[in-house]
């Protein structure tokens, strides 16, 4: 008997499994999967302006910084402003999805590819943003590689206002609707990486980015 058979057999015995209750059990499982019922939800004002406000509030609380421009076309300038303000070089790796923006017009030297260890700044968009907790939802793909938000010390993310949703449930619903099945990697990101392992003292910048900067695209 394989371990699989052994373990399942013991679980079945403990549950008094027989063909009848297995049949009803399977029906129940399919019903649960189809129902997708939600648990209790904290109140989040679903009006667009309220969502924007909440996303900003929560992102700041989680140690991200936030800037706002009207459209994606203005975003590279916002990036240049941010990097200059921190005395960081105007060099970055960006999602291929964002390659078409006018980066050089703002003095930025970017490469559209996955990130490597040497890259200090990574620029991404997002699949959507969760207002409830100030969280970015990123879905990996060839045009939106996961490494760009992970390896560099500085992560800059463009967030179109129309892609801000209330809670994680809405994010998953959008993924089901727009992507069909989940991509290999869905990453929810809330601020810079951190650890409290030494004397319960929070330090920003563990293995992921030290700083996360959101650029809200208010008219996108």
């Amino acid at each position: 008997m394989t371990s699989r058979e052994d373990i399942l057999a013991r679980v079945r015995a403990k549950l008094n499994r027989n063909p009848d209750n297995a049949a009803t059990g399977r029906v129940a499982i399919e019903a649960t999967l189809a129902a997708r019922s939600q648990g209790p939800r904290p109140a989040v004002n679903p009006q667009k302006s309220a969502l924007v406000e909440r996303l900003i509030e929560k992102s700041l609380a989680y140690s991200s910084t936030v800037d706002q421009v009207a459209t994606a076309a203005e975003a590279p300038a916002a990036v240049a402003r941010y990097l200059t303000g921190l005395n960081l070089p105007l060099k970055a790796v960006v999602w291929p999805e964002l390659a078409r923006l006018d980066w050089s017009g703002s003095g930025l030297a970017v490469q559209a590819r996955g990130a490597q260890d040497v890259d200090l700044v990574g620029i991404t968009g997002c699949f959507c943003a969760i207002a409830e907790t100030g969280t970015l939802m990123l879905c990996g793909s060839p045009d939106t590689p996961a490494t760009v938000s992970l390896l560099p010390e500085t992560h800059i993310a463009f967030v179109p206002a129309s892609r801000i949703v209330s809670g994680m449930e809405e994010g998953f619903a959008l993924a089901r609707a727009e992507l069909g099945q989940l991509p290999r990697a869905v990453n929810f990101i809330s601020g810079p990486s951190r650890t409290g392992d030494i004397e319960q003292t929070i330090v920003l910048g563990a293995h992921g980015p030290y700083r996360v900067h959101l650029v809200l695209l208010t008219e996108e």
Binding site: S3, R4, I7, L8, R10, V11, R12, K14, L15, R17, A22, G25, I29, T32, L33, R36, Q38, G39, P40, P42, A43, K58, Y62, R113, G114, D117, T133, G134, T135, G140, S141, P142, P145, A146, T147, L150, M168, E169, F172, L182, R184, A185, V186, N187, F188, I189, S190, S193, R194, T195, D197, I198, E199, Q200, T201, V203, G205, A206, H207, G208
Partner: protein, 468 residues
């Protein structure tokens, strides 16, 4: 991991005498407890959310075999290989086999309590594969001669800054740092090297989502992402009880887990990983393995301890436990400390191997009140105590004492006589003082405190006297 739970009493007393541990536990308590209390106010309906979490966890356990099959079916369809392990030894065999099959020289690990249960790191080393812990706390333990963790969320809560600074200085051979950010930066640099060169990533699994065949990883440091994005092989080791039905259920649990664990509204990273690297993807593992582990869990299904399988490993119970707060986690002797450890260690390693743990509790129920999935921990501890009595595992004098007490208490006349003498004897022992400093009949009581003197007559005799 070998259990040292039999040495609980002596280990707990050693913990009391350790000033560094005592200081760290005091600090940790304030942070975990206070932050959690603030963060749960954000949920609006905390009790309702707990109830929903309890219900969804029960829903799976009640049909666990079918849910496991469902998860396996969908995960496999998405390109994962699903393996099963009866015990720790089999976990090690699977991982070593996978390592050999793919020519793995180094494996980076993000946190997996199951790999602790199995002693996986030692098995990997014996097979010529270098395991590197990447969770900062677990890394500190690993370079300190594989010291075991003392908390499931904060593995080095028992260590002070100086200890860590000395350790890094010794092992990394770098100048000794004195500030926590500098130490963290040093660890980042040392571990970054390993992330980039390891061929295999090993993680635990906070939850397995049956709907999509995915694993959800909840981390703050980013090591969970590193370990599952860069290496070409990813192995997930997790218990069979970790399956949840849908992504909506994950969303519900994500409101409770980070708040209960550290008081955060959300953990820095929640990674929902499904299948292997797709065509055109620039990152991700080419091979994904799930190892679904029994190691005692299957036997708890359908038992009077089944509630324990709802556990989502948040650590709130131990953070709020007066006993854990006083002695820390190592005294509990195995992978899981505090209230949940006092239930799991006997269940998974044998009741007779952890006799003290269910008794090392005041049954105050602070744990039950904060448990996000409403596990009635004091009830389970009491049931374990009852199991010990049924199996004749209690010391003979204890059994005799209770039989005697029950017999006397059932007979009012005998009781009246017995207590008449007892109160006079105790009053005499006190010799006119308020308290008795040493009481032979209850030496454990008087080791740390006095025994107050009784008034000298019983209520029953006084009441009878007043009435007549």
């Amino acid at each position: 991991m070998e259990s040292r739970a039999r040495r609980f009493k002596s280990n707990s007393e050693a913990a009391l005498a350790n000033p560094v541990l005592q200081g760290n536990m005091r600090t940790a308590k304030g942070k975990f407890v206070d932050k959690r209390a603030i963060s749960i106010k954000e949920i609006d309906d905390f009790e309702g959310t707990r109830e929903a979490a309890k219900a969804l966890r029960n829903r799976v356990i009640e049909n666990l075999d079918l849910w496991l099959e469902k998860f396996e079916e969908i995960a496999t369809a998405r390109g994962a290989t699903v393996l099963w392990a009866k015990d720790g030894a089999e976990i090690c065999r699977h991982v070593v086999d996978i390592g050999k099959q793919h020519g793995i020289k180094k494996a980076v690990k993000s946190k997996s309590m199951l790999s602790e249960e199995a002693g996986l790191n030692l098995a990997l080393e014996a097979a010529g594969i270098q395991p590197v812990e990447t969770d900062l706390g677990e890394y500190i333990l690993q370079i300190n001669n594989n010291e075991p963790p003392s908390h499931i969320i904060a593995p080095v809560v028992h260590k002070g800054l100086d200890e860590v600074a000395d350790l890094f200085h010794k092992v990394h051979k770098t100048p000794r740092k004195t500030e926590i950010p500098a130490l963290t930066r040093e660890a980042r640099e040392v571990l970054r090297e390993h992330f980039l060169t390891a061929e295999m990533g090993i993680s635990g699994g906070n939850f397995l989502v049956a709907e999509t065949g995915s694993v959800a990883l909840v981390t703050n440091e980013g090591n969970g992402r590193m370990v599952t994005t860069l290496p070409r092989v990813h192995v997930v080791i997790t218990g069979i009880e970790k399956v949840i039905p849908t992504l909506e259920d994950l969303s519900t649990l994500m409101r409770l887990l980070p708040r209960s664990a550290t008081g955060q509204s959300i953990s820095n990273y929640v990674s929902v990983l499904t299948g292997t690297k797709a065509a055109g993807d620039l990152d991700g593992p080419e091979h994904l393995y799930f190892i679904l582990v029994d190691n005692g869990r299957a036997d708890v299904v359908g038992s009077e301890f089944q509630d324990m399988l709802r556990c989502i490993r948040c650590g709130a119970c131990m953070n709020h436990c007066p006993v854990y707060q006083t002695i820390g986690g190592h005294a509990y002797g195995w992978v899981y400390p505090g209230p949940m450890g006092s239930v799991l260690t006997p269940l998974y390693t044998g009741i007779e191997n952890a006799i003290d743990l269910p008794h090392a509790a005041t049954l105050c129920n602070q744990c039950g009140v904060v448990c996000p999935v409403k596990i009635p921990l004091p009830e389970l501890l009491r049931k374990l105590r009852e199991k010990q009595v049924e199996k004749n595992l209690r010391p003979w004098f204890e059994r005799v004492a209770f039989r005697l007490w029950a017999w006397v208490a059932s007979c009012p006349t005998l009781y009246g006589i017995g207590t008449w003498f007892a109160v006079r004897y105790l009053k005499w022992l006190a010799g006119g003082n308020q308290t008795i400093p040493i009481l032979g009949a209850a030496p454990e009581w008087t080791r740390g405190r006095d025994f107050p003197a009784p008034e000298g007559k019983t209520f029953r005799e006084l009441y009878a006297g007043r009435k007549s």
